[in-house]
């Protein structure tokens, strides 16, 4: 812009060029701005769609029926709309996934950041990315046809569809997220802190546990929260391997249904649009959106905190 003002105004040819350039510049700016705005429109679109359909749903079903019941049978003759049955399915599978992924992910992060050679680190990180990129329908097949039969030999009374097997496989799916983000947090801890610990005579192990991990704590929590959020929103693994029987239970051996699996179930059937049964998927989708958004916002806050490095 300072370039433009530097051009002498009394030169007519230059002025024409100047004008044309300014026009292009403005036009390009407007087009690029429109591109950037698409993401905002997407968010507004998601929220509007969910609010409109959910409002329609709650005109027919009371909040008390939705939040005060533990049976979910909107597709049956005797309808119940107790969301807790689906929330329990999601909570159970996600909890199993998190209990699998957190210990593995944190150990892997500690190893990569504190103990592994740079060479090992550089090889392992992309491999973990591959693990994160495997389509979830593939993980679903793996859970149903490999992990479940294997577990049935060990766990008595494990049904063909259950929460345990997809939960474990989902743990493998979110492992790279937790490992990679925690590793970023650990790696970002300044070397000076480690050196200070060594100077006090601490071993490498003590330094890792007493200095590095506490310093990176908020980053690690953010990584875990993002992992939870991915597990809650994950659809295909639980749809394929957890079954389609919404029930309020915390028994990992029996079939359950998650919020995501219910949405898929309805859209695969021939439920006509505009009916109450159809609107249920938006009410469930709204719950899902609010849950994951809250988790992501908290994680984002925690990570911002680290990026700013307010501690040092």
């Amino acid at each position: 812009m300072s370039i433009h003002t530097a051009i002498p105004a009394h030169l007519p040819a230059r002025t024409a060029l100047h004008e044309r350039r300014r026009l292009t510049e403005r036009l390009v700016g407007a087009v690029l701005f429109a591109c950037a705005i698409v993401s905002l429109i997407t968010t507004v679109g998601i929220i509007l769609v969910l609010i409109v359909e959910t409002a329609g749903f709650f005109q027919e079903v009371s909040l008390r029926d939705f939040f005060g019941d533990t049976q979910w049978t909107p597709l049956f003759a005797k309808k119940h709309f107790g969301i807790w049955a689906l929330v329990a399915g999601t909570a159970l599978t996600s909890a199993i996934a998190v209990f699998t992924a957190v210990p593995l992910g944190l150990l892997a992060a500690a190893y990569l950041s504190e103990f592994a050679e740079e060479r090992v680190r550089r090889v392992l990180k992309p491999i973990m990315e591959i693990l994160a990129g495997i389509p979830t329908v593939v993980y679903g097949y793996f859970a149903l046809t490999f992990v479940t039969p294997l577990l049935q030999k060990v766990v008595p009374g494990l049904a063909g569809f259950n929460a345990l097997s997809p939960g474990l496989v989902m743990g493998i799916m979110i492992f790279p997220t937790i490992a990679s983000l925690s590793e970023d947090a650990l790696y970002a801890v300044p070397t000076s802190l480690r050196e200070a610990a060594y100077a006090l005579g601490a071993t490498r192990l003590a330094t890792t546990f007493r200095v590095v991990i506490p310093s990176a704590f908020s980053g690690i929590v953010a990584a875990i929260i993002l992992g939870v959020s991915r597990a809650v929103g994950e659809t295909m693994i639980v749809t394929i391997a957890a079954g389609q029987q919404p029930r309020f239970t915390f028994d990992p051996r029996v079939p359950v249904e998650t919020m995501t699996a219910y949405i898929v179930q309805v859209s695969l059937g021939d439920t006509p649009t505009g009916t109450l049964e159809f609107r249920t998927i938006f009410a469930v989708g709204m719950m899902l959106f609010v849950f994951t958004l809250a988790l992501n916002m908290v994680a984002h806050r925690l990570r911002q905190h680290i990026l700013k490095g307010s501690l040092w």
């Binding site: 190893y111 495997i134 329908v137 490999f146």
Partner: protein, 299 residues
Amino acid sequence: MESDSKQSQETLREPQPSLATIGPEKAFVAICRLAVALPLLLLVVLVVDAVVDGWPRLSWGFLTGYPSRNPEIAGILPALAGSAAVIVLTAVMAIPVGVGAAIYLEEYTKPGRLTSLIELNISNLAGVPSIIYGLLGLELFVRAMQMGRSLLAGAATLALLVLPAVIMTSREALRTVPYSLREACYALGADRWQTIWRVVLPMSLPGILTGIILSVARAIGETAPLIMIGALTYVAFLPDSLMSPFTALPIQIFNWVSRPQKGFHTNAAAGIVVLLVLMLLLNATAIWLRVRLQRRVNW
């Protein structure tokens, strides 16, 4: 050189292990290695399992066949064609918008309230479950815009889904271009757009392309949003227009997995092998492109 200095730093900062402390540390490192190895081992088991299960069906006839009630003769041609068409359309829609948004955020705008709102929004969108995008696509594209359960609706939904990833990777690529180059360009009398178009974009192209290919490769495996917008599970024809109903490879795999018959599970495994090979090819292309293009702009 870099690794050398890194190594000397390492030796500097680490205390000499004494006999009393080396035991627990060794044990801990062993446990850590196990924690890294276990998921990677499972990855190998997963791939081997799919190949072993699907091997009997992996043939030319499987790739060029149409779905059938008989698992022995069912093929994935419509699913392959559908996936290819959806992915190309998704890329055509997501790339210009995503790169445009990245350029706007990196080069055009100043930090301010709107910019940070857009940034926060993009990072939130990246965390929205894909099935929610399916609900949006169903209401917005299929119903409100009356695209029906078409290729176009599917691709538009996936384009919105991959957009945050495209924007974020493109921004990172733009950021790698040194500021001095932009200043040199301004000094030659170029304006902002000329600088971006002639200098910044060509310089960051390898990074942008890699990011785009990786994001789009993810979209190939997306199942839930396409189920939501109503991609069909049984399609015995190839898509012939933007408005044509379609199926996609992950949808076909899901359909076969959810059937009780063993024969269809074999087909699902064979489909999975094809899907994984496709993703591997795309990832390899991304790496190859990066290496090749980087050589051209070597200073």
